[in-house]
């Protein structure tokens, strides 16, 4: 009986290590392990594979509930706004989204509402050029809400199917920058009731537990309707998304798996869980 307990402990310790090193976080990991421990039947304690599968299923349940793809046909123009901390991959993700929608036969318009960072507008313009997609812009330093205003009107006038608005990176802790986003949202909604139809939080998969703080704070102060997890093509597993899904119940629309315009995939819970345990 003592030997059995030791195997059981070792199995759970190994699983805890897999979870923590995948950035699931120690509390979420412990919570998941405890849920699994309740499920393991008396005779199964020495079946490490079966216990592992219980754990995978537990995580799959949480993530599958958030696997909800984006339907851009719900409005015209369908307005998407990206938001997230500095360097998470917003601008590149917009190029990928535009590419995706164009391949579906949609007419896409982009808006360079990051009027702050050096060469942010030029960066989006390069992508626009590669996509054959127009970019609404103003001078660097202008009000991002003014760009959003122009973009919504242009999208309507040009009969665009989708309008994607790029915003400057900002740490969730900067109150004045959150206010700026709120104003952009207000202007968009005023000029096109119901818009933005999707606001996407772009999270970097290499981020640790701070991603939870980002997800919660952006949710409380501003609100958003979907998540994109980028940079999953490296060695980071993005496990922090498990806790985020469990707690915040926000759909994960896509994942970013590279730096080119076709490096976008719809979020697939099963594949994500398998990759976590690879």
């Amino acid at each position: 009986v003592l030997g059995k307990k030791k195997i059981d402990e070792e199995t759970f310790e190994n699983l805890e290590e897999i979870l923590i090193t995948s950035d699931v976080g120690p509390r979420a990991a412990l919570d998941l392990i405890e849920r699994v421990q309740k499920k393991v039947k008396y005779g199964e304690y020495d079946k490490a594979d079966r216990i592992r599968n219980y754990l995978k299923d537990e995580i799959l349940q949480i993530l599958a509930a958030r696997q909800q793809s984006l339907d851009t046909s719900k409005a015209t123009p369908f307005v998407i706004m990206t938001l997230g901390v500095n360097g998470s991959g917003k601008t590149t993700t917009i190029a990928k989204l535009a590419n995706q929608f164009q391949s579906e036969g949609k007419k896409v318009l982009l808006a360079a509402a990051d009027t702050f960072r050096a060469a942010a507008i030029e960066q989006l313009e390069v992508w626009g050029g590669r996509l054959g997609c127009d970019v609404i812009k103003q001078k660097k330093g202008s009000d991002p809400s003014a760009v959003a205003f122009d973009a919504v009107h242009a999208a309507k006038a040009r009969k665009a199917d989708v309008l994607i608005i790029d915003t400057a990176g900002r740490l969730h802790t900067k109150v004045n920058l959150i206010e700026e986003l709120k104003k952009i949202k207000r202007i968009i909604e005023r000029e096109h009731p119901g818009a933005p139809h999707e606001s996407l939080l772009v999270l970097d998969a290499t981020t640790g537990q701070n991603a939870i703080s980002q997800a919660k704070t952006f949710r409380e102060t501003l609100g958003y309707t979907g998540i994109i997890l980028t940079k999953l093509d490296g060695s980071a597993k993005g496990g922090v998304i498990v806790g985020i899904c469990d707690e915040l119940e926000i759909p994960i629309r896509y994942i970013g798996i590279g730096e080119q315009m076709d490096d976008l995939r719809e979020f697939n819970a099963r594949e994500f869980v398998d990759a976590l345990f690879d």
Binding site: P26, G89, A118, Q123, V126, T207, N210, A236
Partner: protein
């Protein structure tokens, strides 16, 4: 905070006489949790807890009238020790222009930090020359050009089609011709596991012989920070680390992992998006932040 949690743990132990191995276990569990929540690497935490365990079953805790304070003091000391060591400044020795290379993952803050370093050098009366060697990211060259312009610092104009190595060689010649004190090389973000791109960095290093190879790490990086830093260090023998985005609320445990595993000094931190949001690194401040 860890301080508060440990005080609660110790309060429960009061009146039990001497601390036992069992008590110590409970205390170490709290510390382990705090470190993991702060993104310190799993393995680094394991080794660190073992160091703490040996110290906390020693005289200084067991004989102390205030064991909680003693343990907290030890934890802070050990974390600060791990993070610090000799205060490390920028290596600007040797013939000018001294090449400094900036490397790291995608979006970690390299280009912006090159700008910050340039401003730092200008204030120290050292004329920098900026070299945009990122030919893959859209408008990366333009980004560095604009930063240089805002500082009135010269920036090399790459010839279209030139490789990063060719850009660096030609740029260094121009920097020398201009009599600049330092040449700052901005490189494209890349995965540590992308062999050809890591080899490209090695090629740049061989071509220009930088005095500093600075690894930029995002303060919010998770468990992989160790593997990333290790690989960059293995390939390039980095000379220092710069932590970016320290103005957020990330606990910054990745710094502890990176430092303990590479033993390379953390030299500066980025504390914002503006070019003057750049500070010298102080281990004690990060220590209390990681412990929460």
């Amino acid at each position: 905070s860890l301080n508060e949690r440990l005080t609660v743990v110790f309060r429960k132990l009061k009146g039990h006489g001497k601390l036992t191995e069992e008590n110590i276990k409970g205390i170490l569990r709290e510390i382990r949790l705090a470190l993991l929540e702060a993104d310190v690497n799993f393995r680094v935490v394991k080794d660190f807890i073992e160091i703490l365990r040996k110290r906390s079953i020693g005289q200084e805790v067991l004989e102390s009238l205030t064991p909680a304070q003693q343990v907290i003091k030890i934890v802070n000391e050990e974390v600060t020790n791990l993070l610090g060591g000799e205060r490390s400044s920028l290596n600007l020795t040797g013939s000018q222009p001294v090449p400094l290379m900036f490397v790291g993952l995608q979006g970690s803050g390299k280009t912006t930090t090159v700008g910050k370093m340039a401003r730092h050098l200008v204030r120290g009366n050292q004329q920098p020359f900026l070299i945009p060697a990122d030919v893959s990211r859209p408008a990366a060259i333009e980004q560095l050009r604009q930063l240089g312009e805002s500082l009135q610092v010269p920036v090399y104009t790459p010839q279209p089609g030139d490789s990063p190595v060719a850009i660096c060689k030609k740029a260094l010649d121009e920097a020398r011709g201009r009599g600049c004190a330092a040449a700052l090389i901005d490189t494209a973000g890349r995965w540590h596991v992308d062999e050809p791109l890591m080899e490209e960095l090695r090629a740049i290093q061989r071509a220009v012989n930088p005095k500093e190879v600075l690894f930029l790490a995002d303060a919010m990086t998770g468990q992989e920070a160790v593997n990333v830093a290790c690989k960059f260090d293995e390939v390039l023998n980095i000379t220092g680390v710069i932590l970016t985005k320290m103005d957020g609320d990330a606990r910054g445990g990745a710094a502890l992992s990176i430092k303990s595993v590479t033993q390379k000094p953390i030299k500066f931190i980025g504390t914002g998006e503006k070019l003057d949001d750049f500070e010298i690194f102080y281990p004690e401040r990060l220590s209390s932040r990681i412990l929460g």
